[in-house]
């Protein structure tokens, strides 16, 4: 056991009835930021995985004219959006999924390297 290591059942993503509009909004948000970050392979892969977890289609092939700082700013805003979305979720498992997505974005922003 390495600290914080209590084994628990993972919670599947099962939105509550009231979360339908939130999920639609999150999908639209991820799709939008994915278009901005389309040239950054690691970000594109993350956004595609996040859309798949919400049972949404991956974004179509595209290229972006966004600069590195613009991509970084968009991802920062996206991370904050996901935090607020997790707080709004009625379903605990959906909140957990959205919070995990926000943490994934935080990791990507913390990785050294250019974002364009």
């Amino acid at each position: 056991m390495a600290g914080c290591g209590t084994e628990r059942e993972p919670a599947p993503h099962t939105p509550a009835d009231g979360d339908g509009a939130l999920v639609d909004d999150v999908v639209a948000q991820i799709t939008a930021v994915a278009a901005v970050a389309a040239n950054v392979t690691r970000l594109a892969a993350m956004h595609a995985a996040h859309l798949a977890a919400l049972d949404a289609s991956p974004p179509g092939p595209t290229t972006s004219t966004a600069t590195g700082p613009e991509v970084r700013a968009a991802e920062r805003a996206h991370q904050r959006y996901l935090v607020e979305a997790a707080l709004r979720a009625e379903s605990g498992p959906l909140a957990r999924l959205l919070a995990s997505m926000s943490a994934a974005v935080s990791q990507q922003l913390a990785v050294p390297g250019r974002l364009a």
Partner: protein, 144 residues
């Protein structure tokens, strides 16, 4: 599960993390591996802070916070810098799973606290040779 029970479970896990980092700090050299020493020290301070916040939250609610165990079983060796980093990474990943579980079992301020803790643990993973994940703390979604 009530949010108090969820907070108590998280506190129990945080006690373990503090203990593990105390152990790792004693196995890390500030002169030989300064980056690792700094990362372990930073993580130790962070987990102590999180533990204290949980204690305060529970106390403010009139609850008795769970106490730490005298010692904890460590899941691997700690006799090399690589082993220390591996155990620290394992600890952060386990903490991320705990915080994400807390997110699902709380609302409002407690959920916000858990989300922040999850984000911070995910970033700390990178200091211990972790690589970005698609779903920190909720890895089962990566299999979809």
């Amino acid at each position: 599960m009530s949010d108090v029970e969820a907070l108590q479970t998280t506190l129990a896990a945080e006690h373990a993390a503090v203990w593990v980092y105390g152990l790792l700090g004693g196995r890390t050299s500030a002169s030989a591996t300064p980056d690792l020493y700094r990362a372990v020290s930073t993580a130790y301070a962070a987990h102590r802070g999180l533990r204290d916040q949980l204690v305060r939250t529970l106390t403010d609610r009139g609850e008795t916070p769970v106490a730490a165990e005298p010692a904890y079983e460590v899941g691997g060796p700690t006799n090399t810098p690589a082993a220390v980093a591996a155990l620290a990474l394992e600890t952060e990943q386990a903490c991320a799973a705990t915080y994400s579980w807390l997110v699902a079992n709380t609302a409002s301020d407690e959920r916000r606290w858990a989300i922040r803790a999850l984000n911070e643990a995910a970033v700390r993973e990178l200091a211990f040779r972790g690589t970005p994940e698609m779903f920190p703390g909720a890895g089962e979604h990566a299999d979809r």
